[in-house]
């Protein structure tokens, strides 16, 4: 028996993963338990959950692997300060005490924190450290369906590396080359996220969603000034435009002068055409770099499979472009591509690379659909709902499907809570809000009345795998919603000349296709293919909806409001249901209608969460 616990923490998205003999047993992000978005604290609750799931005590675990190496990170900090001195003194004064008091002693600190999970735990020998990008690469390759693959990881920064190329073969994974800090594709994208007035480390996907509204007018300006991209996709950033290496902001005055504006103040300034164009420009640059990297790697290593991880791999538009170019025969993207997935990678890297244990190659993949979080029995759900004062009916399995799909056809917004919670940032039909993709008003309504978020934000479709090609220009599995592709021309409504002239968000009001709720203004969609084998109930629901409507596509968005982590427990789900204008809530076999609930249980919900 050999259990390995992987931990990522102390930067953003703390998480824990438990593997048994190389097989993934359970994984969860701490934010889901503490209800603090991107919680970076020690993942006490996530560790507690994964241990409970396997009926273990912490002392039963054979190894505990942290996802990065603090000494290496400190080395990078020191060398950066030396390189930039005397610039950066203020950051230095603020950073060093934190490091000298806590972060350098991470092993001891981790040991003390682990005692929260089991007071008697005292085996420091069990605590090990992986490298940040090795953890990412391991999370991308080992669970993938491939025997051999090129593994590309890109994010803001780990220890030194910001972009890494590795080759995975069987149980081996070797890092071949790296691009080092301060040259970082992730930090470049984050700099523009900051400049457009969104939060760094969480608002990047908003910038990506904003991009199709704009024109890439600043593309040349970025390439001529900020970044030097070589033919093989490697790059260097001109640090005279950035402030992240030594200062307290991402960009500096020279950067702002280059674009003629200061960073947008999200509290007082609206998003304008300028910000849309900025988003479109940096998105195009990112796609081009990812494409160049992919092409040169394919050329160099002549391997047909690509695995991706790291925060940049969450850029599903860029991923979709790599697919479209047909550079590789197959691509697999780790669903928890961000730092949370580092916990999974750290554990797997230890198992296969340190202990040199064999790897079972699963022809689908080893992620179990990414349904790796907590689940609740029907008995528990009913008990919890009764305690909360909810009014609900208990349906049999067939009626759950029938009634839910009926509600969807009526245009209702449905909270859908089933089985194990997803690991990673996407809701995949375990903790989702669902709607009718054919509805013209669904995108606006869901954004403004249910999710309380910006109206420009697109929604993603879930589609039955076998119907994928009839509705989208894509012909490969995308179970983790990590690929963007265009909707099929058969269902597209072309814009008239007058409509084409509409600016930015006004385009949202045009019916762009047969499934307008999930068609972005550039006719793209972030697709989730639904498979019978990984989520049977969700598959049956969409199938039933298709029988009634002839449409195998529904809207799937995460079950939360803006700024809130995705719901975890039936209580979280009921609170969100009562705090928003969701019409129906389906938890397990319990069916709740909003109009039947006690009015007194409605609550002010959105103010509970800090706007992201």
């Amino acid at each position: 028996m050999s259990y390995t616990l992987g931990i990522s923490a102390f930067y953003h998205d703390s998480a824990a993963t438990l593997i048994y003999e190389g097989k993934i047993i359970a994984a969860a992000q701490e934010e889901r338990f503490t209800r603090i978005k991107h919680d970076s604290n020690y993942p006490y609750n996530a560790i507690k959950f994964v241990l409970n799931f396997a009926n273990l005590k912490l002392s039963d675990v054979d190894s505990i692997v942290f996802y990065e190496k603090p000494f290496l990170k400190f080395e990078r900090l020191l060398e950066t300060y030396v390189a930039f001195a005397p610039k950066g003194f203020i950051q230095f004064v603020k950073a060093v005490p934190l490091w000298l008091r806590e972060k350098l002693f991470q092993k001891k600190m981790l040991m003390n924190l682990l005692k929260q999970n089991q007071e008697s735990f005292n085996n420091e020998e069990k605590i090990l450290f992986s490298e940040h990008h090795l953890s990412h690469a391991a999370s991308a390759f080992f669970p993938s369906p491939f025997k051999e693959a090129i593994v590309l990881t890109a994010d803001g920064v780990g220890e030194w590396a910001t972009t890494t190329v590795a080759i995975g073969k069987g149980k081996d994974l070797e890092i071949k080359k790296e691009i080092h800090f301060p040259h970082s594709l992730g930090l470049l994208y984050s700099a523009f996220t900051y400049f457009a007035g969104f939060k760094v480390n969480s608002g990047e996907y908003k910038l990506m969603g904003l991009a199709p509204y704009g024109e890439p007018k600043y593309y040349d300006k970025i390439l001529n000034n900020l970044i030097d991209v070589k033919e093989d996709g490697s790059f260097r950033l001109d640090q005279s435009y950035f402030n992240y290496a030594t200062g307290l902001t991402m960009t500096n005055q020279k950067f702002h002068d280059l674009f003629g504006e200061n960073p947008r103040d999200p509290n007082n300034e609206k998003i304008t055409e300028f910000h849309m164009d900025i988003a479109a420009s940096i998105q195009k640059v990112t796609e081009e770099i990812m494409l160049k990297l992919s092409k040169s790697l394919k050329e160099e290593y002549k391997i047909n499979n690509l695995c991706l991880a790291g925060g940049v791999a969450l850029n599903c538009v860029a991923n979709g472009k790599i697919i479209k170019e047909k550079i590789f025969e197959n691509i697999w993207i780790q669903p928890a591509a961000g730092d949370a997935g580092g916990s999974l990678g750290a554990a797997l890297a230890f198992w296969h690379l340190e202990l040199k244990k064999d790897r079972d190659n699963n022809p689908k993949d080893a992620m179990h659909g990414s349904y790796l979080g907590p689940e609740y029995s029907q008995e528990n759900i009913e008990k919890e709902l009764k305690n909360l004062g909810a009014k609900f009916e208990v349906l049999n399995d067939k009626d759950v499907i029938e009634k839910t799909s009926d509600s969807l056809t009526k245009g209702h917004a449905v909270g859908w809570f089933q089985g194990r919670m997803e690991f990673g940032p996407r809701a995949l039909g375990g903790r989702s809000i669902l709607g009718d993709a054919r509805s013209e008003s669904m995108q606006k309504n869901l954004n403004l009345k249910v999710k309380y978020r910006e109206s420009f934000r697109p929604f993603a479709p879930s589609v039955l795998r076998e119907d994928l090609q009839d509705w989208f220009e894509l012909n490969c599995d995308s179970p983790y919603m990590s690929l963007v592709a265009n909707i099929d021309s058969k269902i597209k409504n072309d814009m008239s000349n007058d409509e084409k002239k509409l600016f930015g968000i006004e385009k949202l009001n045009i019916k762009r296709s047969e499934i307008p709720a999930v068609t972005h203004v550039d006719y793209s969609a972030r697709i989730q293919t639904v498979h019978k084998e990984t989520n049977h109930r969700y598959y049956e629901l969409i199938k039933n909806f298709k029988e009634k409507t002839n449409c195998p596509v529904i809207v799937n968005t995460s079950f939360n409001v803006r700024g809130e982590p995705i719901v975890n427990t039936p209580k979280d789900a009921f609170n969100c249901f009562m705090g928003t204008e969701l019409d129906i809530l389906v938890i397990g076999n319990c069916y709740l209608e909003k109009k039947k609930q006690d009015e007194a249980l409605k609550k002010d919900y959105t103010s509970k969460f800090e706007v992201d």
Partner: protein, 49 residues
Amino acid sequence: MDFIKEVWDYFKERKKYWLIPIVLILMIMGGLIIVSQGTTIAPFIYTIF
């Protein structure tokens, strides 16, 4: 003591002996900063964590 041994192993592994004097000075300076300010709650700096 374990910590000092780990740091030494790290210097050996990475062959970054030139960092030793910097780390020593930092330890002294950092110690003074810690003693004088009493708290290590730092603002969020994007790349230090």
